[in-house]
């Protein structure tokens, strides 16, 4: 089975800190995604990548950046964390049209 691993399950950071959320997949998938999940809003796409060093903005990219230096790793960066970025962050990978494989999520709290 494809495995998508997010490095932290819970994270607490201070306002203004630079935050890195790491995601690694082990099945050579081309496509990787970062979503944030908020109650009543569902999952909203932040960024996605369909190849190494390629990235595309999703629906809510403001305040975030990403890095994909290797095929298996897709990092989400909060340049200067703010309290409105407190959320659940989900990473996923996919190939073709068979749907996504998700990580377990990182619950980030910015204080």
């Amino acid at each position: 089975d494809v495995k998508v691993t997010q490095s932290s399950r819970y994270l607490v950071k201070r306002t203004g800190e630079k935050v890195f959320l790491e995601c690694v997949q082990d099945m050579d998938h081309e496509n990787m995604f970062w979503y944030r999940q908020d109650p009543g809003l569902g999952l909203r796409l932040i960024y996605f990548s369909y190849d190494v060093k390629m990235k595309e903005k999703g629906d809510i990219p403001e305040g975030y950046s990403v890095s994909r230096e290797k095929k298996e790793r897709f990092s989400l960066i909060l340049e200067s964390a703010s309290t409105n970025q407190t959320s659940m962050y989900l990473c996923a990978s996919s190939v073709d049209t068979y749907g996504y494989t998700f990580g377990s999520g990182t619950r980030l709290t910015v204080v």
Partner: protein, 115 residues
Amino acid sequence: AQTVTQSQPEMSVQEAETVTLSCTYDTSESDYYLFWYKQPPSRQMILVIRQEAYKQQNATENRFSVNFQKAAKSFSLKISDSQLGDAAMYFCAYRSPMVTDKLIFGTGTRLQVFP
């Protein structure tokens, strides 16, 4: 732009009974893919079922089946013989064939299962 609507924030069902979760979507495309995902309290999103729009036959996976009405742009999920382990958030999702594998999700339905 495509949108996905789940109009039931919460649903409940008795164990062993059947429940249907609703999903509607808006698109001008004729070929696309639809998905139902389950997110239990452990937070791991799991693919429940997948439907290809060009296939008229409704997808089925064990106790899970869909009612896909393309003209009505409706994609409901039926869970038969509900079990306590079915309690979770359920998300409906749409995938366009035109953009590299990007999924658009609904806001989710929380399903409670009572013994």
